[in-house]
């Protein structure tokens, strides 16, 4: 193997593996020394095995394969995230084009933006009286803001030249929106969509924990109450891997829509 090829291999495979082994080592050390309640990596694997090796098995309402739980969570996230995009994109466009609208609504957005999902959920329960819509409401409320702010930024950053073209051609408002504003703002919007998806997935655990809905987050909380701590770690790893995969997929889509 040539020097360059081996350098590439070490970068792509060896170094990440080194990092992972370091963390697993620290975990093993922690569980064997000062935190004996923390399951060791081996223990975690053994207890989690049925959930990983039969990922779609359904043994009971709260005893299902890990991918089945993941699927429930993904569906829930998809609903909340779609709602966030459907509301967030037009809101961002309005913020981008209208100074009046920005002055009116930017302060309240800045106030709502840092509110934690743990705070939204009880409110959702009060409004909807049912856990499922409350969870979706929470996901939407938390994940909407990057889409709103990035869409607004995208519209504001459109070069004056493009708008001049629209003015010289006397494009209608509709045509200006679809032929000039949206395509020009699209790269920014996709950055917003990607960040929003990250937050939506982040919120799922909180939403499911508090509502007890079946899913990765609900499973995590139930297994904590059932004292099966190995499954908490299984859930954490699953959430991390799925979140990473979602971000990668969005990154690929984002790159496709880059205009330049």
């Amino acid at each position: 193997m040539s020097k360059i090829a081996s350098a590439r291999w070490s970068k792509a495979l060896f170094l990440p593996l080194l990092g992972i082994s370091f963390v697993v080592g620290a975990w093993a050390l922690t569980s064997s020394t000062w935190a004996p309640a923390l399951p060791s990596p081996l223990q975690t694997w053994q207890v989690s095995k049925p959930y990983i090796l039969e990922p779609f098995e359904k043994r009971g309402e709260l005893d299902q394969g890990i991918l089945r739980f993941t699927w429930y969570s993904l569906i829930r996230v998809a609903k909340g995230y779609s709602l966030a995009i459907l509301i967030g994109t037009p809101l961002g466009l309005l913020l981008g084009v209208s100074k009046w609208f920005t002055s009116s609504f930017d302060p309240i957005i800045q106030i709502l933006r840092p509110v934690s999902p743990l705070a939204w959920l009880p409110l959702g329960l009060v409004i909807f009286q049912k856990p499922e819509p409350a969870g979706i409401f929470t996901i939407a409320m938390c994940s909407m803001w990057p889409t709103v702010l990035n869409t607004a930024l995208g519209v504001r950053s459109i070069p004056q030249d493009y708008l001049n073209v629209a003015r010289v051609l006397q494009l209608s408002r509709r045509k200006t929106l679809f032929r000039v504003l949206l395509p020009a703002a699209l790269p920014y919007m996709f950055t917003g969509f990607r960040l929003s998806l990250g937050i939506a997935w982040l919120v799922i655990v909180a939403a499911e924990m508090l509502t007890g809905a079946p899913g990765v987050g609900g499973f995590l909380w139930q297994e904590y109450n059932a004292l099966i701590y190995e499954h908490i770690i299984l859930c954490i790893i699953t959430i991390g891997v799925v979140g990473f995969a979602l971000d990668r997929v969005m990154g690929l889509i984002e790159r496709r829509f880059k205009t330049g």
Partner: protein, 285 residues
């Protein structure tokens, strides 16, 4: 001569930290139908402001702008603009960029007629081979040709060229100048071109009007270019009229710059007029 494009005592200013500064002051301009007029001036002297006024993208503080006897109240497709930085929409192909204009201006034509019309202008600027490429895949000269085709495709009463070749290298610039002259010869549109290149103005224009150094820039006396067309770039260099016109334009521009410097308490530049491009000077101001 009936003026087709007319500016009457137009002034335009912008707010700055030290109060309002007039970029253009008391600008008067008359362009006859079918005439090619070049306005030559320093960068930063308000050339683009003048162009935006003609295009209707901004309104004058005082004075009036008229095209074809009607006051200019806003931008419109009767004035085709070729912007300094091309302003092509990067997510549309060559064909689509031009088609966007055709679709808008000839809204009543059938889709097939609109496509044919677009195709014709792609061909006019020799871009048929590149018709499905995006602007990012084109060279600067090709992008410029798309911008010209888009402006021409609107079939405007006046073509406004804002330093159309400013961003190009000298060789591409030369071949595009020839191309612009060919296209202009073919349909004799009224053209107002803004440039900082005196040679380019002499090569293309019927009349050259210098714009004095800003702020408070104004148009100087027009200088007619009575050199027969088509003009040959190589022969032009030895044409007695060429040297004459060129040095008159440069003398006016240097004179206006010297006045500016004196009024600011700076020493006038002592350079031989004909050897200096106005642009090179601007670096030092």
């Amino acid at each position: 001569m009936k003026a087709f494009v007319e500016l009457r005592s137009v002034s335009k200013g912008f707010d700055s930290a030290s109060g309002r500064v007039n970029v253009l002051e008391d600008v008067n301009l008359e362009v006859a139908e079918g005439e090619f007029v070049a306005i030559v001036g320093y960068s930063g002297s308000g050339k683009t402001t003048l162009m935006s006024l003609l295009a209707g993208l901004i309104e004058p503080d005082s004075g009036s702008v008229e095209v074809a006897g009607k006051p200019v109240l806003g931008p419109g497709p009767d004035r085709g603009v070729v912007f300094q930085n091309y302003s092509l929409l990067p997510w549309l192909t060559v064909f689509e960029n031009i088609h966007l204009a055709v679709d808008q201006v000839f809204a009543r034509e059938t889709p097939a007629a609109k496509r044919a019309r677009t195709e014709r202008y792609v061909e006019l600027v020799n871009l048929t081979a590149a018709r499905d490429r995006k602007p990012s895949q084109l060279s600067g000269g090709m992008r410029q040709r798309v911008a010209v085709a888009r402006a021409l495709a609107m079939d405007p009463a006046v073509l406004l060229l804002d330093e159309p070749l400013g961003a190009l290298d000298a060789l591409t610039r030369g071949s595009l100048q020839t191309e612009i002259e060919r296209i202009w010869q073919a349909d004799r549109k009224t053209v107002v071109m803004i440039t900082n290149d005196v040679d380019e103005a002499v090569l293309l224009a019927d009349r050259i009007i210098p714009l004095s150094a800003g702020p408070r820039a104004t148009l100087g006396p027009a200088i007619s270019v009575a050199i027969e067309r088509p003009r040959d770039r190589k022969a032009l260099n030895h044409h007695p009229d060429f040297k004459h016109v060129r040095s008159r334009v440069i003398e006016y521009l240097l004179g206006s710059s010297a006045k500016r410097r004196e009024s600011r308490g700076q020493a006038p530049l002592s350079v031989a007029p004909a050897s200096v491009q106005p642009d090179a000077l601007e670096e030092g101001t």
